[in-house]
């Protein structure tokens, strides 16, 4: 973790425990441990009452039922006050008729943003970038995606990442490029010569010993 004018800057690491926090949100004070036992998508947006972020909040709300079906909670964050968050989500509901169903962290002291490396000083010293963290039911950080301020996120990719992580976890497999549910998955490559010889006889769809696929 490096101290800068914009606060602490550092990146969490994949496959390690996600940084703990206790934060004020639009749904009360929440700790990371409150989400244990379920998948969590923690995402940051630059600021309330801004255009791209508003489209993203509507889009996250649209996939919210799909995430619930996948046992996944959603938690937003920006460096704004809880009163600003409340005013913004109420404004969205008033203007569009859509109620934002997930909590949003009011990270005025940049505590959570610093722990998760959401601030990119080269882009903005006061606004969090568009970060997405996928945290598993044991609190382990499994994936993260960073987008710049100007680029709204793709919700189908966020659903695809959750599907891929859950599939890989449940079945001990990997997923190939552009994988979507229903596609074949990759059987982990053997790491011994004997394993490589056996792999070719195992009945998988193999390009060669190191690239074999199967249906689930």
């Amino acid at each position: 973790m490096i101290e800068t004018e914009a606060g602490p800057v550092g990146l969490p690491r994949l496959n390690e425990p996600a940084p703990q926090f206790e934060a004020v949100t639009t749904h009360g004070t929440l700790k990371l441990s409150d989400f244990e036992g379920r998948w969590l998508i923690l995402f940051s947006h630059p600021a309330d009452f801004t255009p791209v972020c508003t489209t993203e909040f509507l889009a996250f709300t649209e996939i919210f039922p799909d995430l619930q079906k996948r046992g996944t909670d959603l938690l937003g964050l920006s460096i704004d006050s809880v009163f600003s968050h409340i005013a913004w989500v109420r404004n969205i509901e008033e203007k569009t008729g859509i109620k934002i169903p997930f909590p949003v962290i009011a990270d005025l002291n940049k505590d959570v943003a610093g722990k998760y490396g959401m601030l990119m000083p080269g882009e903005s010293k006061t606004e969090t970038s568009r970060c997405v963290f996928f945290i598993d039911p044991k609190g382990i950080l499994r994936a993260m995606i960073y987008y710049p301020l100007s680029l709204g996120r793709n919700m189908q990719e966020i659903l695809r990442v959750i599907d891929a992580l859950q599939t890989a976890t449940a079945n001990g497999v990997a997923t190939p490029a552009n994988w979507v549910p229903g596609d074949k998955v990759i059987v982990p490559a053997p790491n011994t010569q004997e394993g490589a010889e056996e792999r070719m006889k195992a009945g998988y769809e193999c390009t060669d010993w190191y690239l074999c696929k199967k249906d689930l």
Binding site: H27, G28, T29, L30, K31, S33, D34, F35, G37, R38, D73, P103
Partner: protein, 71 residues
């Protein structure tokens, strides 16, 4: 505070949790009864314990006399 208002009154979600505590004693059991997400129940239980409306023993929650009086 999501459960206890600044004037000391409790919110509808807190009432739902206090009501569920009559027949359930863990966050996992309370959540479906109160129709609230598990994370909300875990957070709310901390607040209700701090407010003296709920007590917790060895991970099991129960209403205090003050909590019972709010129902």
């Amino acid at each position: 505070m999501a459960c206890v208002n600044p004037d000391g009154t409790v919110t509808p979600s807190a009432i739902a949790i206090l009501t569920a505590l009559r027949s359930a004693d863990t966050a996992e059991l309370i959540a479906p009864l109160a129709d609230l997400p598990l994370f909300r129940v875990r957070s709310a239980l901390r607040e209700l314990v701090a407010a003296g409306l709920v007590a917790v023993d060895d991970g099991h929650h129960h209403l205090t006399d003050a909590g019972l009086a709010r129902l």
